[in-house]
């Protein structure tokens, strides 16, 4: 009886809020939000105000800037937005599917060569995608496939890290006896995968999808190298080009800034909506493997 209060007391005092801990986190949050706050304010200014009024003071030209950006070369900016959505959306769905299929086989089947496939895959995790971009360009150029949608879409479907994660999810979430039971009842392997394993792996697959979606959305080097036609550009390459022209035509700066704001909005929304899926356990089993 006397033990309970003594155990209870220090615990409550330990969870007393600490001003320092809160302050450190708030400082970090302000640092991270500051450029976003800036771009919101800056996109409300016209070209003259950008360099003359106080940085964080809002103005009234946001709507005008958006109209001007929309009119820029017949709506090229929105084309970039659609291209980005296409590259990231289609690419990451295919990537998550291929990762799930491969990871499931590597986790649940025994076959000769399995170890070899997995080791090569792990090496693939260490080879950064960006270093592959120029080699991929050189190879694509041989077949005349550069400067097409395929050139950006296809190389980003394979994700050794996604397969690695999918293998962990499959091993952890799909019980082997459930698979065995379905097989005894005569279910075909692909049916077992699609109807039984895939739904069980779903939460993990959302994480793989998000990973790849962000990676493709943020990718700059691959489309920058592969594409010459600006109608195929994603946002990153398009805005980079616009900023480059801005060095000689400062009037483009307001377009660049408004474009930056608009291109951040979709991904931020996706983040906030799918926030709970960001349970990234990079190390799960990694060091043991």
């Amino acid at each position: 009886m006397s033990l309970v209060p003594t155990l209870d007391k220090p615990q409550r005092s330990l969870e007393r809020p600490s001003v320092v801990a809160t302050a450190v986190l708030i400082v970090g949050a302000v640092y991270c939000l500051f450029p976003i706050l800036w771009v919101v304010m800056a996109s409300t200014k016209d070209g003259g105000e950008l360099f003359s009024t106080f940085t964080l003071a809002p103005s009234t030209h946001l709507f005008h800037n958006i109209v001007e950006l929309t009119e820029y070369r017949g709506g090229l900016f929105w084309r970039w937005m659609l291209n980005t959505a296409l590259y990231a959306g289609v690419g990451s769905i295919l990537s998550a599917y291929v990762s799930a299929l491969s990871g499931y086989v590597l986790a649940k089947f025994n076959f000769p060569g399995k170890k070899g496939v997995f080791s090569i895959l792990l090496m693939g995790v260490l080879v950064p995608g960006v270093i592959l971009a120029i080699p991929q360009y050189l190879l694509f150029a041989n077949f005349g496939l550069t400067n097409t949608y395929w050139a950006v879409l296809l190389p980003q479907i394979i994700s050794p890290y996604g397969i690695y994660l999918a293998r962990i999810y499959a091993a952890a979430s799909v019980p082997t006896d459930v698979i065995e039971a379905a097989r005894t009842e005569g279910a075909r392997e692909l049916y077992v995968f699609h109807r039984i394993a895939l739904p069980m792996m779903a939460p993990g697959l959302v994480t793989i999808f998000l990973f790849q979606f962000v990676a493709i959305w943020n990718n700059f080097m691959l489309p920058y190298i592969m594409l010459g036609n600006d109608a195929l550009f994603p946002l990153t390459v398009g805005l980079n080009g616009l900023l480059n022209q801005g060095a000689t035509v400062p009037a483009l700066y307001t377009l660049v800034i408004t474009g930056a704001l608009l291109s951040v909005i979709p991904l931020v929304l996706i983040f906030l909506v799918l926030q709970r899926y960001w349970r990234v356990d990079l190390a799960a089993g990694a060091v043991k493997a």
């Binding site: 220090p10 330990l14 600490s18 801990a21 450190v24 986190l25 970090g28 991270c32 939000l33 450029p35 976003i36 800036w38 771009v39 800056a42 950008l50 940085t55 990762s99 299929l101 491969s102 086989v105 089947f109 076959f111 496939v117 693939g124 260490l126 080879v127 950064p128 270093i131 592959l132 120029i134 080699p135 050189l138 479907i157 394979i158 392997e189 959305w217 990718n219 700059f220 080097m221 920058y224 190298i225 946002l235 990153t236 900023l243 801005g246 060095a247 800034i257 930056a260 291109s263 951040v264 991904l267 931020v268 926030q275 960001w278 990234v280 356990d281 990079l282 190390a283 990694a286 060091v287």
Partner: protein, 312 residues
Amino acid sequence: MTTLNRAPKSAAANRRQRVITPYLMLAPGIVLFLVFMAAPIIYTLVLSFQKTKVSGLGLGSGARSTVFAGFENYIAALDPDFVASVGRVLLYGLILVPTMLGLALLFALLLDSKRARATTFSRVAIFLPYAVPAVISSLLWGFLYLPAVSPVYFVLDKLGLDAPEILSNDLVIFAIANIALWGGVGFNMIVMYTSLRAVPSDIYEAARIDGASEMQIALRIKIPIIAPALVMTALFSMIATLQVFAEPMTLRPLTNSLSTSWTPLMKVYRDAFTRDDIGSAAASSIVIALATILISFVFLRVVQRRAFGQED
């Protein structure tokens, strides 16, 4: 009789089916891997040992031929520009990786300590920059680095202080490290926080009853427990550091401090597309890839021996 005859047959067919199935299901992954990862690497390896020989004036289709170059491209690729870019990236990594991981760990521990308030807000806010592409974040910070725009310069100016120009030759490396820090600290924080949350809290309770302070619990229990996550974040951060490309490429229009070979990948890009020297670009790519794998391997080996040696 017929049924007896057919039963073993179909079992054999079944078995054959069973044997082939995993390979068929792996096929999409393997084909994509071979076409988009293995083949480019092999092709680059081949190119790195070739050079174009021009005979006569180099006109006509027969005037250019591809010949074996030995290590010529490698020797040419390892020029002073390349060495300088490698030095810059190493310094950049030395600035960025410890700062980013240190801050990420600090934030993760504070989020986990249950003593901070408004943690959901801070967690989401610090993670948010991960959603911003490097090109966009470089663009935002690029403007914020301009004295005419930056509120920091505004405040210092009002105070009558002369602030150094962050985009100058000496400081631009910090400017770029700050952009990468801004984009990466939240992601690493989430990875560490996820591992911290996976630890059953009764371990901490036991330590508290033994009189350990929060600081001791963080240093002696929490950090060692999430060591695997720390290793992986360090590894991924180092790999990302070696391939820095988008940030300096985006900042270039705003400053004269960034050469076309500021980082190794920028030099590869310049060689391949501005100078049309595919051999040298291929050789540099191979060197960068090998260095990345080597560093990853050595790092994992050292860390594994140090931190997990007792498990072997």
